[in-house]
């Protein structure tokens, strides 16, 4: 029975996190889950049968979200798209809190603020060359299915929101351009419209360019779709690295160990796949062919409109023993944090190199952690805020708005940021609208326009300043001694 197999699997998984001989196992989704599975605040399981196509998964995650609880949740007994018990448990909500994201990359929970973004930025430059291992040693090829057995409906694909077209896979697509030897890894939505055929939506510049180049040659684009890996691997895929960057090497920097690769089942050494992934779908994108995809509730917490997308056909499905199917609770905390933290680091890094006076960057939940950035700078002259805003917009294409504040404002406290907007912005001078930028693919009101708001305190005119209690006065207060005890003993 599926349930007993999965119950056994949990204990076996702990064993498999250690290599025979006592060495540390290569990082994978399982080794990460072993770190959190004993903490109920971070990891919960659901053993009852759930139907992901009937919103059972997002229903539970939605209730937790309303309670402001964000544990990683493992659904041990989901149904697959055929309506049969799936052999793959689902794990979702991996990146639900900044503190958990900090621990994923080796930081303390107390370093989940600005340090988290800057650390990820540093990791971009600490690339680690991947290593190649033979297929017989690659966990992800412990099970290989080809031909009709490479069935996309064998997975417990999640239908997330009520207007979604259907179940959608939400993990990463790997592809190479036709004439260059590097791998791009991008989160791509896969709509399995039939067991052997799926529509895709692709939103990033580099992956779109790769697909265009293959299509111009009228050739099929080889791809690997990865359903599950260590969360730090995924954080490595989300940075605005230049064209030509081998993202396997970048992911190694984030994992702090080389990504292990193995020749694909379909194309051998010509296309390498991650050896420690949970599940890999090897497939081909058909040139010139389109199918209907969407609506889908995406990062902006709105539905993306029904549109046309490219078509992928599977050639092989490979998975490790006891593989877990990874999903993302789209449009919610984990989705927001997954993308925002690397982008915060990207903006911080650019401003640090170009201007030197940036003190913090935060992409708040109110902007879905994608479309608005709060940047604090140590301003020394007028105009610096607008320059900082332009730099941020130039390096993070999806940004709608940048609000620049003084370093006295905590960008992680939205109340402080909006105070600065309310009391330090003169709209005609301090709000700059930039028109005719690249139109976004999301249904956002701002479309191709961008906004920079300089909410720093003006220094070129006599201007009020914010009140404050003397710090020395607050430092000498000892609350326990100064406040009278509350009757009944409680303070």
């Amino acid at each position: 029975m599926a349930s007993s197999m999965k119950g056994t699997r949990m204990s076996e998984k702990k064993k498999t996190s250690r290599k025979a001989g006592g060495g540390r196992a290569p990082k994978s989704l399982a080794t990460y889950l072993d770190q959190i599975r004993d903490d109920p605040a971070e990891f919960r399981t659901v053993s009852r049968t759930v139907n992901p196509m009937n919103f059972d998964v997002t229903g539970l995650l939605g209730v937790l979200n309303l309670r402001r609880e964000y544990p990683t949740v493992q659904f041990n007994n989901p149904l697959d798209m055929h309506g049969k018990p799936s052999k793959f448990p689902i794990v979702a909500n991996l990146w639900g809190t900044r503190e958990r994201c900090a621990e994923m990359v080796g930081l303390k929970r107390s370093e989940a603020g600005v340090r988290l973004g800057t650390l990820l930025c540093e990791r971009i430059d600490r690339k680690q060359k991947p290593v190649v291992i033979p297929g017989r040693a690659a966990p992800v090829q412990q099970n290989v299915l080809t031909g009709k057995k490479a069935d996309l409906w064998m997975f417990p694909v999640v239908r997330h929101f009520e207007m979604d077209l259907g179940g959608v896979m939400l993990m990463g697509l790997i592809a190479k351009p036709p004439r260059e030897d590097f791998y791009n890894i991008t989160f791509v939505k896969v709509f399995p419209e039939a067991p052997q055929r799926a529509g895709l939506t692709v939103h990033t510049l580099h992956m779109s360019r790769i697909l265009r180049e293959w299509e111009a040659r009228k050739e099929r684009c080889r791809v690997a779709y990865v359903l599950g890996h260590h969360p730090a691997f995924w954080l490595g895929t989300l940075n605005n690295t230049p064209w030509g960057d081998n993202e396997y090497a970048t992911c190694g920097g984030f994992l702090q160990e080389p990504v292990r690769l193995t020749p694909s089942v379909s194309w051998g050494k010509d296309f390498l796949v991650p050896a420690d992934a949970e599940i890999v779908i090897e497939g081909e994108i058909l040139p010139g062919e389109r199918t209907v995809v969407n609506p889908f509730g995406d990062i902006s917490t709105q539905y993306q409109a029904q549109q046309l997308g490219p078509v992928m056909v599977p050639k092989a499905v490979t998975y490790r023993d006891g593989a877990i199917y990874q999903d993302i609770f789209s449009g919610h905390r984990e989705h927001m944090l997954l993308g925002s933290i690397p982008r915060e680091g990207t903006i911080y890094n650019q401003l640090k190199h170009k201007m030197g006076n940036v003190t913090a960057v935060h992409m708040p939940y109110s902007g879905c952690a994608r479309f608005t950035a709060y940047v604090s700078i140590k301003k020394t002259e007028e105009g610096q805020a607008k320059t900082a805003g332009l730099q941020a917009l130039a390096h993070v294409p999806n940004l709608n708005a940048v609000v620049v504040v003084d370093d006295t404002v905590n960008v992680f406290n939205e109340e402080e940021v909006l105070w600065a907007v309310n009391f330090q912005v003169e709209p005609r001078r301090d709000i700059t609208v930039i028109e005719n930028m690249r139109p976004t693919s999301d249904p956002r009101a701002m479309g191709a326009a961008r906004v920079i708001i300089d909410a720093t305190r003006p220094t070129h005119i006599a201007f009020p300043t914010k009140l404050k209690v003397p710090q020395s006065a607050m430092d000498r207060v000892k609350l326990d001694e100064w406040l009278d005890p509350v009757k009944g003993g409680a303070r």
Partner: protein, 55 residues
């Protein structure tokens, strides 16, 4: 809108529920797929079309 994606809403002729569609499918000869009942139909067969748009 300021150059953003143009949208329209189609009402499914079968279940009468409406869903959001990109403009590229407004006049294309692709059948829409109703996300609520899986009915497939051409855009002109929509029970109702809302294509209001601000230039």
């Amino acid at each position: 809108m300021s150059g953003g994606m143009r949208l329209w809403w189609s009402t499914c002729p079968k279940c009468k529920k409406e869903f959001v569609v990109a403009w590229e499918l407004r006049h294309a000869q692709y059948k829409l797929i109703c996300p609520f009942c899986d009915h497939r139909y051409l855009p002109e067969q929509s029970a109702k079309i809302d294509e209001r748009h601000t230039e």
